[in-house]
């Protein structure tokens, strides 16, 4: 067969291989798609649960990107994502609000800060300081706010504080009264 097709044989061979690959991968995709989607939702749910342990359901508004949290059919708060620019890149934070002004808490979900220093932003010692704060108080103590910076990790601490405040200020306006 190689000889009959001559110079076209390489094109045919590559095309056949690519077609087989496409067929296998699209099968694989439809096999895993639902599970991957389910895992993503589970991840969001677990993240929201960290801030709202009593949560029974949540509702995501695509236009404002705010999660509204309910427990037994009563609204108990709102959550959304914030981004801070840290020492090692972006820090993704989930921010929880009890109402338009009061913070429920924060949780860092992804970061690339220095292990042993900047990654202390993950610890409750740091994140607990945000609980119950008014949005306007979210700033480092040295900058007039109520959050103490982590020793040796001022840049990471400031990144989290700035990310939380920016996101909270922006999203609070979008929360219906």
């Amino acid at each position: 067969m190689k000889d009959k097709l001559g110079q076209y044989y390489p094109i045919l061979a590559l095309t056949v291989v690519v077609f087989i690959s496409v067929a296998v991968l699209s099968g694989m995709d439809s096999f895993t798609r639902d599970t991957i989607q389910y895992q993503k939702e589970l991840k969001i749910q677990r993240m929201l649960n960290q801030l709202f342990p009593e949560m029974s359901a949540y509702d995501f508004d695509e236009s404002t990107e705010i999660y509204t949290i309910t427990a037994d059919d009563t609204k108990i708060g709102y959550a959304f994502l914030g981004v801070g620019v840290g020492y090692g890149g972006n820090i993704d934070i989930v921010v929880g609000l009890e109402n338009k002004t009061t913070l429920r808490g924060i949780a860092v979900i992804a970061h690339a800060e220095t292990p042993g220093l900047g990654d202390k932003i993950l610890l409750p010692d740091f994140t607990d300081k945000f609980v119950g704060l008014d949005i306007s108080e979210v700033n480092l103590t040295r900058d007039g706010g109520k959050v103490d910076a982590i020793t040796g990790a001022t840049i990471s601490s400031r990144a989290v504080v700035d990310g939380v405040r920016a996101a909270a200020m922006e999203k609070a306006k979008l929360i219906p009264d």
Partner: protein
């Protein structure tokens, strides 16, 4: 059968991908922060190595020489995508911590290297032996490096695969409170891999004498 074992063992010792050939250093440096990551990366790499070795050596007679590289890459990329989707669906925590280095297995030179240098020229059973040898060699190297980095750099050893499978093995007395964070950082990885390469060279020299 003797040939099979010879080829298999050569991948672990004489042509160990990391310590002797110094191939695949990029993923080795980047993800070897914890033993969990090291094992995960080794398993994904092993799957791709084995799959592509079988396919490449079974289709070698139909593959025209001038397009062999593109064809091998398509085969390898397919196996990487299968591994990527499977991990994302069933072990998402591991997929998250391996991050971009999971899809980047495509360009891991161990795989292309073994497919091109061995799989495309040998019968399937020898290609399997070669791939298994390279996979086990890579895994041993990854486990040694990631074990040293996790223990020295964090002072503890833990396995976190899924949120509910979280085993904390031990915390060292002094290192646990003040770990040598250098080993978690890239310079520590370079230092360790350099020392291990030197050690393996020395062992290799001793053996040949």
């Amino acid at each position: 059968m003797a040939k099979f074992w010879k080829q298999f063992l050569s991948g672990i010792v004489i042509t160990n991908p990391l310590f002797v050939l110094a191939l695949g250093l990029c993923p080795a440096l980047a993800v070897s922060v914890t033993v969990t990551n090291g094992i995960g990366m080794s398993l994904a790499t092993a799957f791709v190595l084995l799959g592509s070795a079988i396919v490449v050596s079974s289709i070698k007679n139909f593959v025209p020489n001038i397009v062999r590289i593109p064809i091998f890459i398509v085969v390898i990329a397919s196996f990487v995508t299968i591994a990527d989707l499977t991990l994302k669906a069933f072990i998402p925590t591991l997929a998250d911590s391996l991050g971009i280095f999971l899809p980047l297995i495509v360009v891991n030179c161990i795989i292309m290297g073994r497919a091109e240098a061995f799989g495309s020229k040998h019968p399937v059973h020898l290609a399997i032996a070669d791939a298994l040898g390279a996979a086990v060699g890579f895994a041993i190297a990854m486990i040694i490096i990631s074990f040293l980095r996790e223990v020295l750099g964090t002072g503890q050893l833990a396995f976190k695969v899924v949120p509910y499978f979280d085993i904390h093995l031990f915390t060292l007395p002094v290192l646990g409170t003040s770990p040598m964070a250098l080993f978690i950082l890239p310079p520590g990885a370079f230092l360790l891999i350099g020392l291990l390469l030197a050690l393996f060279r020395r062992l290799g020299v001793l053996k040949s004498e």
